[in-house]
Amino acid sequence: MFDALTLVTGVAALLLAAWCGWAAYRDQPTKDWHFIGMAVVTVLALVQLVVGIVLLARGEKPEQGTTIFVAYLLGSFACVPAAGFMSLAERSKWGSVTVAAGGVVLAVLEVRLYDIWGG
């Protein structure tokens, strides 16, 4: 269950990165549709956070420790919204690049989460 969610979130993050990278390539700032995309990825990360905490509460143990697991869950939840706010402040293609970088960072976090959970 958790691994599937990690995979979905990671793939969604990469898609978001590609999408915003494309916008940057065409010299465009992030638009409403991009923000909806970010919202979708963020909701996925939030679901993952909740599922992760529920799994912990039911007594399951991540392979590499509970603290690291929770820290990465929080980090991956905060990642895309933070990049999104920065792209709001920077209305140029560099805002799009920032969100693309945020998507890549989230994908890396998901890979780490997979290891930490011990998939």
């Binding site: 402040a89 140029s92 920032t98």
Partner: protein, 142 residues
């Protein structure tokens, strides 16, 4: 150039590509600080040098992020010094971990030139220095 109405914006450092730098630095701050905080709290004895270095790296990243966001001439100089220090740190620690791995039983953010972090630690200061230089020239011209 420095008229009073310029004051609120204070020659912003973060516009254009700068925003990407701030973002990546922000990520590195969170990464380095949380990592070292966790490791120092739980297993400091295993690799004190490595964990202390991660903590120092985190502080340097935090300071650079702050100066980039704050902007202004003083901040720009400070950011420059810190980026140079950071670059020196990455290169030193990177070489050190290659030459004598036994000094570092566990990895730091700067081990092997930041390979575990997609080489971001070594690429960041270089691009930041470049960005600060370019920005300064534009400032002179204006």
């Amino acid at each position: 150039m420095a008229v009073s109405e310029d004051k609120p914006t204070r020659a912003r450092l973060i516009s254009g590509p700068g925003i990407l730098l701030v973002w990546l630095y922000g990520v590195m701050v969170v990464g380095a600080v949380s990592r070292s905080a966790y490791q120092i709290a739980t297993e400091f004895d295993r690799a004190p040098l490595a964990y202390s270095l991660s903590a120092v790296a985190g502080l340097v990243y935090g300071f650079i992020t702050y100066t980039l966001v704050r902007g202004g001439e003083t901040a720009r100089k400070a950011a420059r010094v810190c980026c140079a220090a950071e670059l020196a740190g990455v290169l030193t620690v990177g070489t050190w971990t290659m030459v004598e791995p036994s000094a570092f039983p566990d990895a730091t953010v700067w081990s092997d030139f930041g390979m575990g972090y997609v080489f971001i630690p070594v690429l960041l200061p270089v691009s930041a220095l470049y960005w600060l230089r370019k920005n300064a020239r534009r400032g002179d011209a204006a």
